[in-house]
Amino acid sequence: MKPFSTPVLALLFAASFAVSAQSINLTPNQLGGGSLPDGYDQITFTLYNGNYAPTVFLPSNPRDNAVVVLRTDAAYDVNLDASRTDLGVGSLALARNLNYSLRFSTVSGRWTLTGETVNSFSPLGQGATIPSPPRQITYYTMSDGNWVPTVTLPATAADKSVVVVRSNATSGAQIAATKQLFPSTTTLRTGDAYTFIYQQAQSAWTLSAAPVRTLIDREIVNGIPRPTSPRTLISFRDGNWVDVVRLPAIAGDRDRITVRSQATYSSRIDNANVNFQGTMQLYRGDEYQFMYIASTGKWEMTASPQAVFQANDLVAANGALPAITRPRTIVYSGDGNFVWNITLPASHKPGDRVIVRTNATYTLTVRADGQAFPMTTGEITSFVAGPDNRWQKETRTIDLLMLYSDKASAKLGENAMRARLVEALGLTNDALENSRANFRFRSVGLRQVPAQAGWADLGQPLGDLRADPTVQGWRNQLHADGLYYEGTENGCGLAWVNADAYSMIASGTTACGTTVMRHELGHNMGLPHSAGYAYPDTIMAGNQLPFFAAPYLYAADGLPLTPAGGWNEVATMNARSAAVAAFR
């Protein structure tokens, strides 16, 4: 069911707006936002200062050949939800003072862009090289009789320009590596479409979308062949399965392979050609992702599954964990789910990791290779098998006292505030795990504090709580190395950078989400904002991805999270963690 599709709403529209038989002129103020209605052959949607929406959503159930014309003259940025277009991008920033025209095809189920922001090229018109600089959007289309063996991307373009190269020709073709930031495997087959985004900072194009080649068992039984696209998917089911998966020795730079399974039988992923020598078994429900790095000639494992055990599962074996099956094994312990000793398995490979999380009242001890590591309630500790295949403790614990104000509690409720802080701490530790940091945070208390009358901005509690006798008393009693405060003051998040023991406090507000904590604690641990020194969406540079920047981590587009000459945030925090963990 669509909005505005009922007779009543249609009548309201007819009465309110200037409506012709099948077309309508609309603005955000008329719609109350940027969602365009169904039911029209043409919509002209105009945005300007005072009549603005941040995002435009196209009609979700349009007629065949329906047309939408967009134009923004607003000072603020406007994005188009482009997920139902044929561009191969999720969203598109609309340039000011230009008209965008989109037409819908029920055959393709997609919107196609035309107009003054769009080039539509083909080999017969423009040859094998797409001219530069192109308009914001370029379609380059090949077909039988209008084909070249190799297509070359524009030499230059405006930042974030989009080029879509597609082919319906019978003969195959290539997209030249020239001007691609990473020369991945860009082979064009009939029906293929590739989308590239221009990165002005690198003066090169990166991939946004590519055809997915799905391989089946008989194609990989002797190993996965060299990819024919940057995106290869292997998805096992019963009847489509092999027992050993071997990644190819050679691939295009930043080619990616995903291996999933819903099969009854398990498989093993061979370590050959992979920059990980640990255990990689593939069970039903598991998923591994790999990205080929041409400079090392290895596949990086960018996502992997985990095996999970309860402490109670280990009671019968006196706490002995069974043989490792995945790159990461997690053991939960708590009251009622407890063993006194957990013994890490003898059967493992270098790089395998075991993470023990305990909420038990009593201390448990992790034992491995003649070593004993006691763990107390609330701790999350990671153990890794080193190059010598001996288990070693990978992480230390930094204790946090988490505070919320009485005003925040009055606004959202006591239970909501506690849930927010639990989720925020979980996101923070997830990010530290993703980034392979050498420490984790532990909550040693969740307490309410009165918001003082003078606390208008976060700067006030951030300063005052350092010397608040009650809070500092709690901190000493609980041995909290640091504080995190969430209130209702103005702002989103604020923290001291490179904090000493006195100033080890970060803060957030209920006006913002739960990803704030990981960013602000990053400040406490020594990190500034890293725009320009790290991948744009990492935690300290936009806070969209659950990673701190490090040179061994990669974004989906292939860029390292720390570029050459950039800031290794994980190394910075790791260097401080021992000192911070000793604050109390």
Binding site: D38, T55, V242, D243, Q262, A303, F338, R418, A419, L446
Partner: protein, 197 residues
């Protein structure tokens, strides 16, 4: 996909049976605690994942044939009728269903900037400070990508805070029985600040 009749849309549909697609191992039975203490529960995918079928053939043509899978419910959907002026979307959340989600189960999640719904596969569920935190991966069914998601349900089961990472954005959700909002967290990035000591 048709838009919903209501301004906000359906969410985690009720009924644990709906979610039983990939129900996996959840750990062994609870034993009597070794002391008089509250029970702590945590579950996860792959517990006791015993090596299966060591005599399995090397290629799948002789492996068991697939049985039809039950359809996945459309579990959570943003209200695509009218985003608010701040860019957020109204949502409605089924708190009972959230409490019943188990590792190995999968639900459909529809989010902005994606033409098709994602499949959210639950990997872990744990009880922390009386809350229930569930986390897992959000899969793009037609592509090679997946991203993390997590949600925490309050002790009284009447408030949820959730985060969904996708290739296009980081979305946050806050909901209580009166309703909820889904926001693109990118709007917050410019408001995060720091102080020098």
């Amino acid at each position: 996909m048709k838009k919903p009749l209501l301004i906000f849309v359906v969410v985690l549909l009720a009924g644990a049976g709906w979610f039983a697609l990939h129900r996996a191992n959840e750990g062994g039975p609870h034993r009597r605690p070794p002391f008089d203490a509250p029970v702590e529960v945590a579950t996860g995918v792959g517990a006791n994942a015993a090596p299966s079928a060591p005599q399995a053939p090397t290629m799948g043509t002789t492996a068991p044939q697939a049985s039809p899978s039950p359809p996945l419910p459309l579990a959570f959907e943003y209200a695509d009728a009218q985003p608010a002026p701040d860019g957020s979307f109204a949502v409605r959340w089924d708190f009972g269903a959230t409490a019943r989600l188990h590792p190995g189960e999968a639900v459909r999640v529809r989010l902005p900037f994606a033409a098709e719904p994602y499949t959210a596969i639950v990997q872990e569920a744990s009880s922390i400070e009386g809350t229930r935190r569930t986390s897992g991966r959000l899969q793009d069914d037609r592509g090679v990508d997946s991203w993390p998601f997590s949600m925490t349900l309050s002790t009284d089961g009447r408030y949820v805070t959730a985060n969904f990472q996708t290739g296009a954005a980081q979305f946050s959700v806050e909901a209580d029985p009166r309703g909820g909002r889904l926001k693109d967290a990118a709007t917050e990035a410019a408001r995060l600040d720091n102080d020098a000591q």
